[in-house]
Each structure stands twice: as structure tokens, then as C-alpha cells.
């Protein structure tokens, strides 16, 4: 991996963008990486656009500022792609992963990335997967599976071990959600399409 990977998560309040960033950071930390996971706090309401960020590196991370040149953008809600800010600052060789049923090439056009072939575009039906697996349209865990697949940031089986433990702590009162979310991660890891 590159020394520093910077991820920007775009979601809507309630879709779990913050949880995704924190879970990914914790899993990456257990895998031995130096990590940061932080949300951007504002006047969040259910459904309002929200952001969260990750920095992952094999060296200590000193930066404590926002991420404006991400190498990975993860979009939890397909309606957010109308905002030109979604692809803003994407570094060359970067990748944008969108929760959508569209093909990657169609999504590339919608993101106005036709002129930037060096940016990869990936899609996965994270909402559909989460409906199937946990009965709710909370696509964050499925999106984590897709992000791990397209970035190769973490070794998948190791990540799943950590995710099982972390989800177990998070859903102590509702253990059924642990297996459902793990299934969602695995399916999205297998189904994500990269253009």
C-alpha cells in the first residue's frame, strides 16, 4: 500500500458513515496500521449530508486537518452524486466507490469523471445487500466490504475476524445484527464492480 491512504465517506445522517469510518479505523489499527477515523460534525439530522474520514498509514500520522485530496471516496447514498463535491480533490490513481445499482461506466459519466481515466469508479448495490442481510437500508457495512475489496487495504479474512468482534460489542443487545452485517460485508466484497 501507499504510505498514506486518505478516505472520505459521504453519507446521509443515519446511514452509518461515521460508524464505517470508526470501524474501519479500529480494524486497520488491529491489523497494525496507524489510523485516524473522524467524522465532520455539523448540524446533522437524519437524511442530511454528512462526512467522515480515515487516514491509514504504515507510519505514524501527525496531520490533524480535514482531508481535501482523498485517494478513496465512498458514497453511501447514490443521490449524493449530484453534488460535484463528491469527486472533488480525488487524487490520481484514486477510486470512488458508490452505493448504486448502476454499472461503473454509467456511474463514471454521472460523476463527470469521463476525462479522468486515472480515477477508478466502482459500484455496489449496498442498499439492496443491506436490505437482504439485515432487513434495513443501512449500507455502511456493505460499503466497507466494497472499499476493502477495491483498495486492498486489509487482508479480508483478518478484517472479518476483527469486524465480528467489533460488531459483537456494538450489537451486544441484538446479536442477530452481527451475522447480518458480516454477511453484508462478505457479499459486497464479492459483488462490487470496478470500471
Amino acid at each position: 500500500m501507499a504510505t498514506l491512504t486518505e478516505i472520505r465517506w459521504h453519507g446521509r445522517g443515519g446511514q452509518g458513515a461515521k460508524t464505517a469510518a470508526l470501524l474501519l479505523a479500529e480494524a486497520a489499527s488491529e491489523a497494525g496500521l496507524h489510523v485516524q477515523g473522524f467524522p465532520e460534525y455539523g448540524p446533522e439530522r437524519m437524511g442530511a449530508p454528512v462526512f467522515a474520514y480515515n487516514r491509514l498509514s504504515d507510519e505514524p500520522i501527525f496531520l490533524h486537518c480535514h482531508i481535501s485530496r482523498p485517494s478513496v471516496v465512498a458514497v453511501l447514498d447514490p443521490t449524493l452524486i449530484k453534488d460535484p463535491g463528491v469527486a472533488a480533490g480525488l487524487a490520481d490513481g484514486g477510486v470512488v466507490v458508490v452505493n448504486s445499482t448502476a454499472e461503473p461506466e454509467t456511474m463514471r459519466g454521472r460523476l463527470r469523471l469521463d476525462g479522468q481515466p486515472e480515477v477508478r469508479v466502482a459500484t455496489v448495490d449496498a442498499s439492496g445487500i443491506s436490505m437482504d442481510c439485515i432487513g434495513q437500508a443501512i449500507p455502511n457495512t456493505a460499503m466497507m466490504g466494497a472499499v476493502i475489496r477495491v483498495t486492498g487495504l486489509l487482508e479480508f479474512d483478518r478484517f472479518m475476524e476483527v469486524a465480528r468482534r467489533l460488531l459483537g460489542e456494538k450489537f451486544r443487545a441484538r446479536p442477530a445484527l452481527v451475522d447480518g452485517n458480516l454477511k453484508a460485508i462478505r457479499r459486497a466484497y464479492g459483488e462490487v464492480a470496478v470500471g
Binding site: 489499527s29 496507524h34 489510523v35 485516524q36 505514524p60 501527525f62 496531520l63 486537518c65 481535501s68
Partner: protein
């Protein structure tokens, strides 16, 4: 011993590497300290600390009496009462919560009560803003509290544990604030090494006060009327205690290094040995500044960083000696003191440099005047400070080095005393 090693130092094997938010790290330190009393009122962005700690109480993981109160004024009052009665007591707050504690902050310090209080730095209203700046703690700088500042979750955790020993030292007996940046650190999941519970408990020891309200064999009065007959003597003693805190802070840091492998002092001097220019900064911005310094060093520029950890007592002499041989110094303030004569950190740093010049101690390598100083105010209300902002500061310093003056090159006039980074004007 005035430098701080950052988290890359040797790690003693009695520790676990974890990923926690700044607030989780502080709450963990509080759990390991296991204070007798915690009285607190929630306020963003400190809320998690109180929430996590209350769950430790509910789960029986601490022996603490947890007092829920109706305001921060009451939180600090209850903490004052508990410590006066002989308990080890803590609270935590932010911004307007600290402002509401105001009169009781002075009572805690003037009564010589060793309270430890994490302050999760946040802008003061108005306008209403929940994000980070340092106006809250800077406003309390004259209240008689020791102030330790933290760059990240590791330092917040380490500072809280050390603060107990500093506060309770018989030569100090003063309250200590441990500052960490709201949201930027408090809500960011970061790596740190944490000690075993038993190691922390052994390090902080038991609090055995000499005098307590609940000792009928040796009755004392706390907070009595004290007019022109003795008030001045008590304030003089309080000033002496703050002065004694200097040596105690370094001694506790040394003991903590033996325990943890991490080194702390009054400040961290990063690549200052042969630097021409440096920035002086508090809190999380020091991390971003270190990144920029290392980057500019790769390009051959002689730049450095001084990250202040101890703001009260102010280590003016040590700081001035460290900066004396530089040509230019930029002080970055995350608070607007509205003095029109510079931010609160700037005025203290510049005053320390001036004193050094006066007594002839300009440092061995610099026969000339003390460094030119510039003041930059940044980050109010959580405005982001990115590497480009800090690089622009070093560019301004480079111009000052070239011209030997802080005058603005295009107009030739003396530049403004205070410049604002990242503001729209």
C-alpha cells in the same frame, strides 16, 4: 529535560496498543485513576467523557461516587467540596461550561485544592459554535490552575495521569486542567498505548491530604474571610506553589517516562537545533505543523517547531533559551484575546524573549538581537488549519529572514502585529 518525545518513542512492555477517541482515552485514564468523586455536567464536545465514566460507575468498574449536577457551576462546587473533605475528585468540561465555573475555578485554586479537570477545548459563544478553539482555556489562564496541553489522544491520556501527581504534590496543591482539542482530538479515533490499570493506580498512589474538613482531630477552615491582614500572604504562597509546580511537572514526567517510555517536559523542540525559523503552537495543530516542518526540511529549508505542553506555569526562560538563536519565530494562537496587542500565547512568548535580551542571555550562537516575532491567529470556531496554511507562515518567516524585518515587502511598512490565517476578509 524540556523536550517531549511523541508517540514514536520506545514503548515499555506493560502497555496495550489501542485505537480510541480522545474522549475515550481520557475516560479510560479517569477509570484507571479511580477517583473518589466525579461531579460533572455534560457539554459538547466533552459529553462522551462523562457518558463513558458514568457507565464505568454503573458497571461497578470504579469505586467513584458520581454526582450528577444541574450545571457546571455546581459541578465545580461539588468537586471543591469533595476535595476539601479529603477526597480525590475530578470533573470535565468545555467552553461555556468552563465559563460558568468561573468564580469556582478561582476558589479551587485559592483554596489549594488539587482537582484534575480535562477541558475539551471549544469556542465560546456568541455566535454559538461547538467546534475547537482555545478561547475557553485561555480565558482561564489567570485563574491559578496549572495547564497541560495535549496534541493527540496519547498525550491527553498521559497528561491526565501525570496531572494527578502534579496537583497533589505537597509543594503544589493546585488544580490542573488537561486541555485537548474539541472534535479534532476528542472525537477522532487515534492510536495510543495504554498502561495496565494496576500500573496507573500504583503511579498515582493514594491521595493523603494533610488537612481535610472531615478530620475532627485537626479542624481546619476552608475559604474563610481573609482581608488585608492575610489575603496578600496567601496569594504570595499560591504564586510560590505555581512556581514550585515547574520542578514537580518535570519530576513527574521523568517518573512517567520510566513507567511508559514516553518523554514529556515543558515543550517539545522539533528540529530546532539548526533552524532559522520556527512556529510555536499548542494542541493538535502541532501535529500538522510537524508534518510541514518535516516536509520543508526535505526541501532543504531550516525550519522547526516548538510545541508548548505547559502553559501554566509558563516556562518562559527555557522557551526563550531554546528560541534565542533563531532568526524568526511565528506564534500561532487559536484564541483572539481582543487585546489588539497579540494573542495570549504570542504576548507571553514575546515577553519571554524580551526578558532574555534584557539580561544579556541571548544564547551562544546568536550575537544579535532576539528573533523577530510574528503572531498568527488561526482556527477560531473550528476553522481548519491545513499544511498549506502553515507553509504560508513559514514563507512569511523566510521573507523576514531575508529582509531582516517583519515589514511587508510590497509596502515597506511595518506589517500588522496580528495576522489572521484562513479568514475571509
Amino acid at each position: 529535560m524540556t523536550t517531549t518525545a511523541v508517540t514514536t518513542g520506545t514503548v515499555n512492555p506493560n502497555q496495550r496498543r489501542v485505537a480510541l477517541t480522545g474522549n475515550e482515552a481520557v475516560a479510560l485514564a479517569m477509570r484507571q485513576i479511580n477517583p473518589d468523586v466525579v461531579a460533572a455536567y455534560p457539554i459538547t464536545p466533552q459529553t462522551d467523557i462523562v457518558q463513558y465514566f458514568s457507565s464505568f460507575v454503573a458497571d461497578g468498574r470504579v469505586d467513584t461516587e458520581f454526582v450528577t449536577v444541574e450545571s457546571e457551576h455546581s459541578a465545580m462546587s461539588a468537586t471543591v467540596g469533595a476535595v476539601a473533605a479529603g477526597a480525590r475528585a475530578m470533573t470535565a468540561t468545555s467552553a461555556n461550561g468552563l465559563a460558568l465555573m468561573w468564580e469556582v475555578l478561582y476558589i479551587a485554586a485559592g483554596s489549594r485544592l488539587p482537582i484534575v479537570m480535562p477541558v475539551v477545548n471549544r469556542a465560546l459563544s456568541a455566535p454559538l459554535n461547538i467546534h475547537c478553539d482555545h478561547s475557553d482555556a485561555m480565558g482561564a489562564r489567570d485563574s491559578g490552575w496549572v495547564q497541560l496541553w495535549s496534541e493527540n489522544a496519547q498525550e491527553a491520556y498521559d497528561n491526565v495521569i501525570q496531572a494527578v501527581r502534579v496537583a497533589e504534590h505537597p509543594k503544589v496543591l493546585l488544580p490542573v486542567m488537561v486541555c485537548l482539542d474539541g472534535f479534532i482530538i476528542s472525537h477522532a479515533l487515534l492510536n495510543l498505548h495504554v498502561l495496565e490499570d494496576a500500573a496507573v493506580r500504583a503511579f498515582v498512589g493514594r491521595y493523603r491530604p494533610d488537612h481535610t474538613l472531615l478530620d475532627p482531630e485537626r479542624p481546619v477552615t476552608v475559604g474563610p474571610l481573609d482581608l488585608y491582614d492575610f489575603y496578600f500572604e496567601h496569594k504570595r504562597q499560591q504564586a510560590e506553589a505555581m512556581s514550585e509546580a515547574r520542578a514537580v511537572i518535570l519530576q513527574v514526567a521523568e517518573d512517567y517516562t520510566r513507567l511508559s517510555g514516553r518523554r514529556y517536559g515543558f515543550f517539545e523542540a522539533h528540529r530546532l537545533e539548526d533552524a532559522d525559523s520556527a512556529v510555536v503552537v499548542l494542541g493538535s495543530a502541532a501535529g500538522t505543523a510537524r508534518f510541514v516542518v518535516d516536509e520543508l526540511r526535505r526541501r532543504g529549508r531550516k525550519v522547526g517547531l516548538l510545541k508548548l505542553r505547559v502553559f501554566r506555569p509558563f516556562p518562559g526562560r527555557e522557551l526563550a533559551e531554546t528560541l534565542a538563536r533563531l532568526q524568526t519565530v511565528a506564534v500561532l494562537d487559536r484564541a483572539e484575546g481582543f487585546s489588539t496587542a497579540g494573542g495570549p500565547l504570542f504576548t507571553e512568548v514575546r515577553s519571554a524573549l524580551y526578558a532574555l535580551a534584557e539580561d544579556g542571555g541571548r544564547g551562544p550562537a546568536s550575537p544579535g538581537a532576539p528573533p523577530l516575532t510574528m503572531n498568527f491567529i488561526y482556527g477560531l470556531g473550528g476553522r481548519d488549519l491545513d499544511p498549506g496554511d502553515i507553509e504560508s507562515v513559514f514563507d512569511r518567516l523566510a521573507t523576514a529572514v531575508e529582509t531582516g524585518s517583519t515589514r511587508t515587502p510590497d509596502t515597506g511598512r511595518v506589517g500588522p502585529l496580528i495576522e489572521y490565517l484562513g479568514v475571509r476578509e
